[in-house]
């Protein structure tokens, strides 16, 4: 009996090292691998499933974080990386990488206030920054009441919930806060991890959503999908044009359309605080990084085919998952860029 136990590892080894079955069709020796931002993980895995069903090529994307995506594509261990924070053209040139956006999503402040439904609470950028900086401590502070004339706000302390782990979501959120509040910019600043002046840290979007749901009179920031799926009360934000906008795929699209992509070299542009009339201010893009002169041209071409497929046929899937597909003009710009840059 114990002999069988010792045979098990050997059998497993042999089975594992064996050749792949006829059901797998791959490019070269293995499926295309990508890694990086957690923000795009759901939509990329949905696109990969559709792409595999159609063409048989498997594109395996895993979320290890934006920083991980950048370092892995530089090290050459993956075929493409995904990052929420775009790299500057100089860094791209140094790493011999090309960069292009692939999907758009929104980051929303969520609150736990009794009687406040989704979209009812209105906040301006500076007020949001002051809340997260700990300068505004109570819900019935004059600044908040001013923006919400008809809503009854309690005389209670605000519990701030932020991210405990490094995240591209935090980067985009703090980038927005730096844009609208000089005090924030010179204070905590922007980054994937910042020194939060106040509040509790939750792990992942799920952690933050969990805490906000649990702790009364709290406020946090999560990706739009989490707010929707959890039925949470998001706040309406005042955008650069002055109107209070609720997050929705429409307001995200408006932000994408009004952002100045044409003048962004290597698409190095963070879309927050977009100027459009009905644009939602905290809208973010995720960027894909690929080597400009890849060592394995077949794999590079296969990866690019996958992205073209996503641009042309992936709209519905993206919308279903609460993302926003890229505007057609941007897609055309990307395709020209790819043809030029990646040989």
């Amino acid at each position: 009996m114990s002999k069988i136990l010792w045979m098990l590892p050997v059998v497993a080894l042999l089975a594992a090292c064996g050749s792949n079955g006829p059901t797998e069709k791959q490019v070269g020796t293995a499926a295309i691998t990508g890694a990086g931002s957690t923000f795009v993980y759901p939509v990329l895995s949905a696109w990969a499933a559709d792409y595999a069903a159609q063409t048989g090529t498997k594109v395996n994307y895993q979320s290890i974080g934006s920083g991980g995506g950048v370092s892995q594509v530089k090290a050459g261990t993956v075929d493409f990386g995904a990052t929420d924070q775009p790299l500057a053209p100089s860094e791209l040139a140094q790493g011999k990488l090309a960069q292009f956006p692939v999907v758009i999503g929104g980051i929303v402040p969520v609150v736990n206030l009794s009687g406040v439904e989704p979209g009812k609470l209105r906040l301006t950028g500076p007020v949001l920054a002051d809340i997260f900086a700990g300068r505004i401590r109570k819900w019935n502070d004059a600044a908040i009441v001013q923006a919400n004339p008809g809503t009854a706000l309690p005389d209670a302390d605000i519990t701030v919930v932020h991210r405990s782990d490094g995240s591209g979501t935090t980067y985009n959120f703090t980038h927005y806060l730096s844009q609208v509040s000089p005090a924030w910019k010179s204070g905590p600043g922007e980054g994937k991890t910042v020194a939060w002046p106040t509040g509790v840290g939750g792990k992942g979007n799920e952690g933050v959503a969990g805490y906000v749901r649990q702790i009364p009179n709290s406020i946090g920031y999560v990706e739009y999908a989490y707010a929707l799926q959890g039925g949470m009360a998001y706040a309406a934000l005042q955008n650069a044009a002055g109107s209070f906008v609720s997050p929705s795929s429409e307001t995200f699209s408006n932000a994408a359309a009004s952002a100045d992509w044409a003048n962004a070299r290597d698409f190095d542009l963070v879309m927050t605080n977009a100027p459009g009339a009905n644009a939602y201010p905290i809208t973010a893009t995720t960027f894909v990084l690929m080597p400009t002169s890849p060592s394995d041209k077949a794999r590079s071409k296969a990866a690019l085919d996958f992205f073209r497929f996503a641009f042309e046929h992936g709209q519905d899937q993206a919308t279903k998952l609460d993302y926003v597909p890229l505007p057609p003009a941007l897609v055309r710009q990307i395709e020209t860029y790819i043809d030029q840059k990646i040989k």
């Binding site: 957690t38 993980y41 895995s45 395996n60 895993q62 989490y226």
Partner: protein, 281 residues
């Protein structure tokens, strides 16, 4: 005065016994609470499809077959690599090397590295294996798991052998049995239960490791049987799905957690039965 002293001791004994019972209850309460939570949250996804379908994209139904396979293969390979080396080193520490400098140093360093965060070991294997191979692979994942398993097995087999009384060794030598036979056939048999406990504790530990696998095996959305590619594994899939906003993925994560726990338990029970059968003459 003597009577009250006896009373004192009896009371102390009574308290100790109650405490012992209470401790056991304490441990069991947590166990059932956690198991109940995993069952409750994962019941939505506990069905035969869990074992027949691959990890799905959000919004569709699916299973965890590729994750089950990947985890099983990597754990088995890690044990195949780590257990023999660990057992041999533990034997050295308890037997030949008990009073040598090498033995002391290795034992000490081993205990210190028992507490190394597994992510650091994952990074080490990443630098050594993934970067040299040029890609992530299930093989690198198995190596990382083996390196996490190693200190546990060295420690537990060292302790297991030390507990065997010296009288047994002396009796065997007196009978003229060569040293290697004494160790292999007599000492191992005497310490078998403790050695097996050690290996099982080690497997329980590596079965749930997430962070090191992220840097070595990555994970895989699709099915692959090759160790030379990123390999799906249960802990990473559980982590990614649990931290997502989708309810189907949440249910799959909890169901996977429940199955992972059952797997290690099943392993526990199976090996214990084997050991018990061998002990009976």
């Amino acid at each position: 005065m003597t009577i009250s002293r006896v009373r004192q001791r009896k009371i102390a004994d009574g308290i100790a016994l109650v405490f012992a019972g209470a401790s056991t209850l304490f441990g069991l309460v947590w166990l059932f609470w956690i198991l109940w939570t995993t069952l409750q949250q994962g019941i939505g996804a506990l069905s035969p499809t869990l074992f027949t379908q691959m990890t799905p994209p959000p919004g569709s139904q699916g299973g965890l077959l590729n994750a089950f396979y990947g985890s099983t293969v990597m754990i088995l390979l890690a044990v195949a690599i780590g257990a023999p080396i660990g057992l041999a080193a533990g034997t050295y520490l308890a037997e030949h090397g008990r009073y040598t400098r090498l033995g002391t140093v290795v034992g000490f360093l081993n205990d210190v590295l028992l507490s190394a965060p597994s992510i650091v070991i994952g990074l080490f294997v990443y630098e050594m294996v993934v970067v040299s191979m040029g890609h992530f692979s299930g093989f690198a994942g198995a190596l990382a798991l083996a390196m996490i398993l190693l200190p546990v097995i060295v420690r537990t087999s060292d302790e297991a052998l030390r507990v065997v009384p010296d009288q047994m060794r002396e009796a065997a030598f007196a009978l003229g049995i060569p040293r290697w036979k004494v160790t292999l056939q007599i000492l191992f048999k005497a310490a078998l239960s403790a050695i097996v406990t050690g290996i099982l504790l080690g497997i329980a530990r590596i079965a749930g490791e997430t962070a090191p696998l992220l840097f070595t095996a990555l994970s895989n959305q699709f099915w692959t049987s090759s160790l030379n590619q990123p390999l799906a594994n249960l802990p990473v899939v559980i982590f990614q799905y649990a931290m997502s906003p989708y309810d189907e993925w949440h249910a799959l994560a909890w169901a996977g957690a429940f199955m992972l726990t059952l797997f290690v338990l099943g392993l526990n029970i199976a090996v214990r039965l084997i050991v018990r059968r061998r002990k009976r003459p």
